[in-house]
């Protein structure tokens, strides 16, 4: 089975699917949704089969495919996955169908002519294809192409389907990415030049590049080129301010993929490219990165507490979490790095769920402001319960998946990076604060703001507020209060897999750690022995 070209198929299927969905005639919205869901489910099945075919004790890169692409420059269309890339593909495969399910009734606001449903889903599928490519590429140039191409669908998801400040957010997103992309391209070319001078023939193949002995001074320059791009993507403080704007304006499905997967390309890049290709520079810059990481953990957590907009709040919690991931990667121990990779997956699940629930809340109340809500739990207990599960996973409560990863990051960095680990540990208090403050204000207390007080027992038939969609214009001055109905069957189907995974991976993290660890060990070997 491992001969099957999983990775190529996983790129081709959603890419072709995107083209087909986009080409559908007007008025076939339902078909566009169904087709998109079907395509994304095929990718999920392929991802799971690829994981089954993957041998955890085998070669570092498996399921490899390689064809010459631009022979003159040694560029190959080379794909392959190690354990780290594999778990990220599983995350992509999991999240996209859920996002499509969650966006099912997102009639993008405005007239259908301006924001056609089919394009929304087509962009989602194209994004999926690019995300698979960026994790599966084993050729640095190919990686760069996917890295940049991935921006295009996200740019349109923000700029065309987003909230009231979508133009501003989309341009900001693109500008930041532009700067990151530029410096990375420079470094990619620089890497090629170095390989040409050392090997006599330039190459972009990862396996060849990681064996180069690069002069430490040059390493530092090249490291910075990659690092800045990844640090914008991940994002680390102080390069983070584009994320709250983008995450707040993009429709909720896009926010899940943006924060859950796209941003992980940054931390994935640290592990795949910065550490193995530039070991000396990585060690030299590690103290700086660790400072940024720990400052990010605390600074973003404090900022999360100060937000009044729920989507921005979740975006800031993610920036805080990315600090933990960066800490785990640059602590250079197996435990911390395994924890960081596990964190990347777990964060996608936990924060993905948190975004989805927030989206469902916004779809009902029509406001992103925490202050507009209160007492939702009494009217929508299932929604409140899922919100709580997502929140508890975000604050890394033991028993949830995130606990294991956060614990590993802190425990693994503690022996080598004592002060950083202690400071980051304080972050767990702040995490409890920002989650429980938001939860208490929106879910507990008496009905308030857009939540109409309950009048007697019995709930009205569902489907009253759902149709409004999470993408609707959200800052209308006076909102009428509505009765909140509980989760619909569709919504339960969307959140249930994530809730189950939060618990299962909280009790059996070894399912993923067994896949992750060999790749982490190989990465740290490239770096030179762990310190």
């Amino acid at each position: 089975m491992s001969d099957f070209p999983f990775l190529v198929t996983m790129i081709a299927v959603p890419a072709v699917g995107a083209a087909v969905v986009a080409a559908l005639p007007k008025g076939r919205e339902l078909l566009a949704r169904q087709l998109s869901l079907g395509v994304s489910l095929v990718v999920l099945v392929l991802a799971v089969l690829a994981a089954v075919a993957f041998d955890t004790g085998g070669e570092r890169f498996q399921l490899t495919t390689s064809v010459a692409w631009i022979p003159d420059f040694g560029v190959e269309f080379a794909l392959g996955v190690d354990g780290i890339a594999l778990v990220m593909l599983l995350l992509v495969g999991l999240l996209v169908p859920l996002v499509i399910g969650a966006s099912w009734e997102d009639g993008p606001g405005g007239t259908p002519e301006e924001r056609p449903v089919r394009f929304f889903f087509a962009w989602l599928l194209l994004l999926e294809a690019m995300m698979v490519g960026v994790f599966a590429a084993t050729d640095v140039f190919l990686f760069y192409v996917f890295f940049e191409a991935m921006l295009v669908p996200m740019y349109f998801l923000i700029g065309r389907f987003g909230g009231p400040r979508r133009q501003y957010a989309a341009v900001k997103f693109f500008l930041y990415s532009l700067v990151g992309g530029l410096v990375m391209l420079a470094a990619v070319i620089g890497l090629y030049v170095v390989s040409a001078s050392e090997l006599g023939e330039g190459t972009f193949a990862f396996d060849a590049l990681r064996q180069l002995e690069i002069d430490p001074g040059v390493q530092k320059l090249l490291f910075l080129g990659f690092f800045v791009a990844f640090a914008i993507k991940a994002p680390l403080v102080p390069l983070h301010t584009w994320l709250p704007d983008s995450a707040a304006e993009v429709p909720i499905g896009g926010a899940v993929l943006l924060v859950g997967v796209l941003d992980k390309v940054g931390t994935f890049g640290f592990l795949r490219y910065c550490l193995p290709l530039f070991p000396d520079a990585s060690r030299a810059f590690a103290p700086l990165v660790l400072v940024l990481a720990v400052v990010g953990v605390l600074y973003a957590a404090l900022l999360a507490m100060g937000q009044s907009d729920m989507k921005r709040l979740v975006a800031y919690t993610s920036i805080s979490h990315f600090g933990f991931i960066a800490l785990g990667i640059f602590a250079f121990t197996t435990e911390a790095a395994s924890g960081a990779v596990l964190y990347m997956v777990n964060h996608g699940i936990a924060t993905g769920l948190l975004f989805l629930v927030v989206g469902m809340l916004i779809a009902r109340g029509g406001s992103r402001q925490i202050g507009d809500y209160g007492g939702v739990a009494a009217q929508a207990p299932k929604l409140a319960a899922v919100f709580l599960v997502a929140g508890l996973a975000s604050l890394a409560l033991p028993g949830t998946n995130s606990f294991v990863s956060e614990f590993l990051v802190l425990l693994g960095s503690f022996p080598e990076r004592l002060v950083y680990a202690i400071l980051a540990t304080v972050g767990i208090i702040l995490a409890a604060l920002y989650i429980l403050l938001m939860y208490q204000r929106t879910m507990h207390g008496p009905a308030r703001g857009v939540v109409a007080p309950a009048e007697g027992a019995g709930s009205p038939p569902g489907g009253t507020a759902d149709g409004a969609g999470a993408t609707a214009v959200l800052t209308a001055p006076a909102r009428t209060a509505v009765r909140f109905h509980d989760l619909s069957v569709r919504e339960i189907a969307v959140v249930a897999p994530l809730v189950v995974l939060i618990i299962v991976l909280g009790v059996q993290p070894q399912l993923l750690l067994d896949i992750i660890e060999p790749a982490v060990v190989a990465t740290l070997d490239d770096l030179g022995a762990t310190r």
Partner: protein
Amino acid sequence: MAEVLPAEGLLATSWLLIALPLAGAAVLLLGGRRTDRWGHLLGTGTVVAAFLLAVLCTVRLADVEGRSVDVDLFTFISTGELDVRAGLLYDPLSAVFVLLITGVGALIHVYSIGYMAHDPARRRFFAYLNLFVAAMLLLVLGNSYVALYVGWEGVGLASYLLIAFWYTRPGAATAAKKAFIMNRVGDVGLALAIFVMFAQLGTTSYEGVFGAVGTLAGGTVTALGLLLLLGACGKSGQFPLQAWLPDAMEGPTPVSALIHAATMVTAGVYLIARSAPIYDLSETARTVVMAVGALTLLIGAIAGCAFDDIKKVLAYSTVSQIGYMFLAVGLGPAGYVAALAHLLAHGFFKAGLFLGAGSVMHAMHDQVDMRRFGGLWNKLPITFGTFGLGYLALIGFPFLSGFFTKDAIIEATLDRDDWLGWTTGGVAVLAAGLTAFYMTRLMLMTFFGRPRWEDGVHPHEAPPVMTVPMVALAVGSVFSGALLVAVFPLSDWLEPVFGEPEEAEHVIEPFIIGIALTVIMALGVLAAWLFVGRREVPVTAPVRVSPVTRAARNALYADTINESLFMRPGQWLTRALVWVDNRGVDGAVNGLAAGLGGSSSRLGRTQTGFVRTYALGMLGGAVLVAGALLAVTSG
């Protein structure tokens, strides 16, 4: 420590103790309204079953060589050098706690059937209560600090859910959040202790840590002891993290009885007793434990004298009594058994007192203000009788349980015969008098004097489903002390954990201490009668009071201190940072971006031009850097 054998037979199935209530919680939470009719019965049934299993397990354990078995379950986390296995340690210490948790837990589940009968969310209540029992059993049965930590935060979650059970009340929601946050502060200590263990010893299992802790430097051991103490203070409501526990009384009263009196809040005592091999090696850590205990038991006793809310008085009493337990575990080998005996006796009488308070509230339309009680003794005869026995046990009335267990703590403290022993022991003696005062005040205001009920209140005794558990706990309050100290000595049972009990050298003869403490207790009772019992109790609290009373009413300003030291500066910092992030960081980058590519709005309008700029910029940058690199590498 005794050698630990692998578990066999019945003991190998002891994981069912945790699985049963956990399954109960899962069924009730996922089953929804379908389980409304029988949910409370299922919830009670799982805990009763767990109790029966616990009794059988304990009987079997008594026959095992060394009375300690290990139940290995599965690999939890394994990567790098870390290998955490999920497993249980069933030994005399955990067995004692398992019996307390499931026994008192079962009684309180039964009581709750009646207490929550008219609450539309009774099923949810039993689900959370089951969840709590499961997490608490994991806490005491886990065989590593990681397993303990999982249970530790699990009970924190259950506590949060149950304090906020009536979440539409803002007070309940705020109290729940406060409890969780203050516990998290303590959890940081516990987490850091685990990290130190891994960094220094490469393991987190009890067996591994205790086997190698002797190889550590003294400073490291002390650090471990202090970090664990921070965790213990959070969970057990000890200074400086005591302020959440009285607020936690917002939860339904059975919760206060089970979680915030008998079991969860004593987890800190368990943690320190379990970590005895660490504390045995650090005099400094033990001294700090004693100081924290002595300070807290005094704070709790002072605050207990001033409140009019019956549950708050009992809550501060709990804070104070756990302070006694901390004082005792801080003594080291001389005090572990005394601490645990008091913990068990306290589990009975304080749970009984809370259930009695619940019965009073039940009769008085959820009134908690004692100024609105009075003369209830003949209206609620069973409640009065059981509550009265719990009261006598708590104040140390001769030959009831508190008399044996509290005296043992004070004796052991004074036996140190050094400045620390005399100071902390003196505080403990003083607080014993205060205990008699505040509890007598509570008794007088609630059960005696003229009725001061609000209109329309017609007190009636609770149904048998509530009174039977109260009677059972009252029996325990009366006899547990004598049983644990004299008849079936707890010290013998715990010998595999703490070693042979040493024959203490008494500085003062125990019977003299017994008499002295009885006299001090009597003085406290007398004082209460003079100040409260002789006079008419006003239905509103007097406003013009002495600064001492005012300080006590404000619980010695713990909340004020927390707010001005942490909360308000934190809010200012947050607001300042939001401003900086929006103006400073974002503004700087926006300005840079504007300079780079023109104004944002223009860029937004002309996307094609934008992409062209992008491509051009990429090319230009690439050429530049490639040229620079060529120069560097060739040079």
